[in-house]
Amino acid sequence: MALSIVHRATGVALYFGTLLLAWWLIAAASGPGAYANVQAFTGSFIGRLIVFGYTWALMHHLLSGLRHLVWDLGYGFKAHEREALTWGALIGGISLTILVWIVAYMTIGGGR
């Protein structure tokens, strides 16, 4: 499995994704006009796609990182354990992303 590089790639994506988070927070602190701009962007197709990708990168990096913490502690080095951890991170990351988006759509009432 080539998931090591995916961990790194999602990390780099999250790194630049913080710009969106910072923009959102600054806009919220600035005023209604600035906040409406962010909402217009995150509400657009491209914006939704980026935020969806960001959610997946975060969830995958989180689970993949937990896998590294397990290895740091000296567990999970047997072949089937490594496979299980890797598949767990991959499938778990996708599942958590979808779960978060379902909850998000339920929260904001089926899309803004």
Partner: protein
């Protein structure tokens, strides 16, 4: 790195195990420290983000006026900025082999992480103090 203190240890003993970064495993440790911190914070952070999604700017300000919410977000931003600074430095050191470009990249990485962290922290403090 702390200034060398008077010591009976030989110069060799002092530098041993510190590696080429001269600071030993401190980045390795902090990377794990911030990772565990964010793992503990991720559920409350997602809840806060979901609360913010459904609200307008006035509502967002209202949400950040809550002290626990502001503190949770501040902790998460601090941990993530530190984590991504270390992570990006590892990536730079792995792929950039020209010494000058490497130095410039590491410096730019520090600027980026500090700027993003400070901007986010300022925004949260501004909202939570109701200005």
């Amino acid at each position: 790195m702390n200034a060398p203190k008077p010591s009976m240890r030989t110069p060799l003993a002092r530098v041993r195990a510190l590696g080429s970064s001269h600071s030993g495993t401190s980045d390795f440790w902090r990377q794990r420290l911030t990772a565990v911190a964010m793992t503990l914070l991720i559920v409350p952070v997602i809840v806060v983000v979901l609360m913010l999604l459904g609200s307008n700017q006035a509502g967002a300000k209202q949400i950040f006026s809550s002290v626990p919410i502001a503190i949770i977000m501040l902790l998460f931003i601090l941990a993530s900025a530190w984590h991504m600074k270390i992570g990006m430095q590892v990536v730079i050191e792995d792929y950039v082999h020209n010494e000058k470009i490497k130095l410039a990249s590491v410096m730019a990485n520090n600027f980026f992480c500090i700027a993003v962290a400070l901007a986010s922290i300022y925004a949260i403090l501004k909202m939570s103090s109701g200005v």
